[in-house]
């Protein structure tokens, strides 16, 4: 053992003499681990939340029966099922507002609730009597309690004025969900004797066939291990994971170059150790042990950084997921033990992978013979050809996925293959560019300039690949976000056409307000609005009522429509479909759908497709009057007003005063737009943050590569210095060379980035969100990124160059002598 420790001590002494190398290695490992585990932490946090949501009585983890064509069915069907031997438990679900915030209200029946339904079986069962006996209890997650700003035992009122049961905290619940006894839920939601679904327990007792009990009214929904939220948010997490992976690999580039250099420098030491009697097996084991210990330390630090990153990004991630999918993620980061273990493991595996080539070299190292640089260069040239062939193969794969693929995953596969191919072909492109430069160079120093740049390529190529990928992704994501931003703002203008928005507490108040408004001369029009929930092809959709008003005709964001679309809408037998819905169900103009309505199915012909960005549900828009005929229960509490802008503030003030409306209940267009934009901006802030991180890591990769390269290149520079080039001139040439390859790389990254953006907009977004955005190029943004990239390269190149410029002639002499 002490033999191994002494050997380890000798090996480690290298780092003490080369702290910069050690720092580089650790920085690479730390940033790889940090970004990867940070993203994993975010994903895990979200997944935990989905699990909690799924565990909330009738998520998709349990088989259930739902109405075939409506959102609810009569309660007696539940009793009929029980009496026929079905181990079912009823659930009522609806939406409820408290203080203007929307919540999901679940009514459960704790006595029949199957134990396996919930991963938190104690919910609602610990104290049956107080839960079911008036006033009952309303179970909420700790986060919800904090959101409401209330204490346990207090009784909030809904926006409809219903006094709700006293609050009680249930840690297992997901935020945004209120759980009460089924009887109370039916009262609160005004759904007497109606239930939304029944959950089916696992008891295998004999049961009568479903049809003999409920006819064709109910539909069996099989349990699904993947929750709805997981399916919906897959794309978002895939996106995060992709960034995490990218950063991870960029980090490993750094590790690879640092380890490569360290091994190269330590080869004589390894030989001496062998000559002094350290066996090959012992040496190799100690080398691996050294690497693993370093990875362990870096992994721990990386995990801590990952935790900090995750904690910093969590609010934005949570906001995005809430805004995009309605998924509630708690704001407090909680991590399982597996996360720590996985983080350490990924750090060690990453280090071993990055060091594989160097380790293999050390293991195969003969004690006597020395390295042969020329042969190594030949191998490098073969490698260049091989890489280019692999790049072409990767491009072919990308094309194949693009042509044949039809899923989100294949969209990401296109991206991955594209970027891999681009990274692999980069050295060849640089080689060709530099060879061209060399051919056209006339003076000896400039010939040497190009030739030496070419020789430098192998050492730099990994860092340049990292730079290329980081830049391309930045261009791609930046273009996507900017495209989305422009499109979104135009769309918002179309959707938010009214000048003032009113949300009354009740239909009665609404009609009171409308009556009052009709007497106001500044109100040019009252635009009624309403929305009903329905189901189409087994999925929940919204049916939106559009008043037959010029405001809507002029502004509604139709993507395509029949020329007489608006006129035909008036008849009530046609509709516009949202883009998401039309893509999901493959609906086109002229297709017919049947929307289940209380009075019977409502057949509708699609006469237009409109953009409905950010809505997780599909939507159809119909004539408002027709909507109220088919869905008489639709609340008519929301409406918009056309008012000349100067009169808006006074009108709002008067409305608030006269009808006791708060800021949430009446708002002007500007406010609503600002709010929407704020939510939108948060949605992409995570992407941008990760983007920046990745670029930063790529910069570090470039810096470390240049630093390590600078050391190994001194022998090549020393003769030049010896024949009369000043150190300053050498330094300038070095800087120029670095900037030249960085510039070529960046120029290559721009078209690649635009390709990435196109993939994101036309493939990934369509699959992930259901909408396609117009592809736009933003030249200014590209120039800006180019500048940033070159600045990063300059910064990275500066340190080694300054060191070169200041290097003592004596050092150069010694190098000249020693490397003879």
């Amino acid at each position: 053992m002490s033999r191994a420790l002494w050997t380890l001590a000798v090996l480690l002494s290298h780092w003490r003499r080369h702290p910069m190398q050690l720092a580089t290695l650790l920085i690479g490992l730390i940033s790889a681990t940090a970004l990867w585990s940070g993203v994993q932490a975010l994903n895990q946090q979200a997944r935990n939340a989905y699990d909690r949501a799924a565990a909330t009585f009738g998520g998709t983890r349990t088989a259930m029966l739902v109405s075939r064509d409506s959102t609810s069915f009569p309660q007696h069907l539940f009793v009929d099922l029980r009496r026929a031997g079905w181990p079912v438990s009823p659930v009522v679900e609806g939406r409820l507002q408290i203080g203007g915030r929307p919540f999901r209200l679940l009514g459960i029946e704790p006595v029949t609730l199957p134990g396996e339904v919930s991963t938190a079986p104690v919910i609602g069962r610990t104290d049956l009597q107080s839960f079911v006996t008036p006033p009952g209890e309303m179970l909420v997650a700790p986060e919800t309690l904090a959101d409401l700003g209330l204490k346990e035992g207090e009784r909030p009122s809904s926006n409809g004025g219903v006094l709700l049961p006293p609050l009680r905290v249930q840690a297992q619940l997901v935020p945004g969900v209120l759980v009460v006894d089924i009887g109370m839920a039916q009262q609160i939601l005004k759904m007497p004797d109606q239930i939304s679904r029944v959950l089916i327990g696992k008891s295998s007792a004999r049961r009568a066939p479903l049809e003999s009990i409920a006819g064709d009214r109910l539909r069996l929904v099989e349990p699904n291990a993947e929750t709805d939220l997981e399916r919906l948010t897959d794309s978002f997490h895939l996106n995060l994971t992709a960034f995490g992976l990218l950063s991870f690999f960029v980090g490993l580039f750094i590790v690879n170059s640092a380890i490569g250099l360290a091994f190269e420098q330590r080869l004589p030491m390894l030989r001496t150790l062998r000559a002094c009697g350290v066996s090959a097996r012992m040496l190799n084991s100690v080398l691996v042990a050294e690497l693993v210990s370093l990875a362990l330390v870096a992994g721990l630090v990386g995990l801590m950084c990952g935790y900090v990153i995750a904690a910093a990004l969590l609010p934005d991630v949570a906001a995005s997921l809430r805004g995009l999918y309605g998924a509630q993620i708690p704001g407090q980061l909680t991590l399982k033990g597996e996360w720590w273990l996985a983080g350490i493991a990924i750090s060690i595996l990453g280090a071993l992978a990055a060091a594989a080539a160097s380790l293999a070299k050390a293991i195969r190292m003969p004690v006597l013979s020395s390295a042969q640089p020329q042969a190594w260069q030949q191998a490098q040239r073969r490698w260049l050809v091989f890489q280019s062939a692999a790049a072409l193969a990767a491009f072919a794969v990308a094309g194949g996925f693009l042509w044949f693929g039809d899923s989100l995953l294949s969209g990401f596969a296109v991206l991955a293959a594209l970027m891999l191919g681009a990274a692999l072909i980069l050295p060849m492109i640089l080689e060709i560019a530099l060879a061209l430069g060399q051919r056209n160079a006339g003076r000896p120093v400039s010939i040497w300039f190009w030739a030496d740049s070419r020789q430098q390529l192998p050492g730099l190529s990994l860092a340049l690949m990292a730079l290329l990928l980081a830049l391309a992704v930045n261009v791609g994501v930046g273009t996507m976000v900017e495209s989305f931003s422009r499109t979104f703002l135009v769309w918002l203008d179309g959707r938010l056409a009214a000048d003032v928005y009113v949300n009354a507490a009740s239909d009665a108040q609404a009609s009171g307000i409308k009556t009052w408004l009709r007497g106001r001369s500044e109100v040019q029009a009252i635009l009624p609005g309403g929305r009903a929930d329905a189901q189409l092809a087994g999925m929940p959709i919204e049916v939106l009522g559009l008043p037959d008003q010029a405001t809507f005709r002029d502004n509604w964001p139709l993507l395509e429509s029949r020329s007489d679309g608006w006129d035909r809408l008036r008849a009530g037998d046609t509709c516009f479909a949202s883009e998401q819905l039309s893509r999901r169900l493959k609906l086109a103009i002229g297709d017919r759908i049947e929307v289940p309505a209380p009075g019977g199915n409502w057949p509708l012909e699609i006469v237009g497709i409109y953009a409905d960005y950010g809505n997780p549900k599909g939507q159809v828009a119909v004539n408002f009057a027709a909507l109220t005929r088919h869905f008489p229960e639709v609340p008519q509490t929301r409406f918009g007003l056309r008012v000349p802008p100067p009169a808006v503030p006074a009108l709002i003030a008067e409305l608030q005063q006269k009808f006791g409306l708060d800021d949430r209940s009446v708002a002007d267009q500007t406010t609503v737009k600002a709010e929407s934009k704020r939510i939108f901006n948060r949605t992409f802030s995570v992407t941008s943050a990760l983007n920046t991180f990745t670029l930063g890591v790529a910069g570090v990769a470039l810096l470390t590569s240049l630093l390590t390269l600078a050391n190994s290149r001194l022998p090549q520079l020393a003769p030049l210095w010896a024949i009369g080039l000043t150190r300053q001139r050498l330094a300038r040439i070095e800087l120029l060379k670095t900037m030249a390859v960085a510039l070529i790389t960046s120029l290559f990254a721009l078209p690649l980035g635009l390709l990435v953006a196109w993939c994101l907009l036309a493939v990934v977004n369509v699959k992930a969100f259901g909408w396609r955005l117009p592809f736009q190029v933003f030249p200014l943004q590209l120039v800006e990124l180019l500048g940033v990239a070159l600045a990063a390269a300059l910064l990275a190149a500066l340190l080694p160059v300054i060191r070169l410029a200041r290097m003592q002639p004596a050092s150069l002499i010694r190098i000249f002598v020693n490397e003879r």
Partner: protein, 217 residues
Amino acid sequence: MLEVTGLRKSYRSAGEDIAVLRGVNLAVAAGESVALTGESGSGKSTLLHLIAGLDAADGGEIVLDGVSLSNLGEAGRAALRRDRLGLVFQQFNLIPSLMVSDNLTFQSRIAGRHDPKWHDELVQRLGLAQLLKRYPEQLSGGQQQRVAIGRALAPKPLLLLADEPTGNLDEETADEVLALARDLVARTGCGFLMVTHSARLAALLDRQVNLHAGVIA
């Protein structure tokens, strides 16, 4: 103590086998110092490397202290080097990231044969007391080679093998270093086999053998 009999070794170069050693016989007794001379390319270093177990022979036998090297695997030969042999190279081969004191002791520590008293004596005799805290790059060639000799003798080996130990040193320094080595070899009573192309230096040792055409004349 060291007996080499019928040792053969050839290398493959440019498609043909070149026999470097063609049946070398050599013996070094305990306390004896032997100079191995021969022109460049005669196989002096190859013979030394084979004796050190750094390379494997094609035929013949090397017996060190009753142990035949051909019966040992890589690990066994490493252990032999570690515990029984001291190696000194022309290029010094010190560990650049270790200070002189650590360079002196690491082989004896890895061998588990560290003896503080002997260590102190070595430091005194080699005149390294003032240099212990320096790194190899801060030493002159003669100083570096003195450290290398100290490292090789620290585990009290049976046999000290030196490959042109003074090849990188000027004449005066070379004499001084060799005198120190002989002094210490005499002090420990180990065998000493030195490869050199200098007849002047070879003459300073007990016995001289010449390698020519793959055999010892």
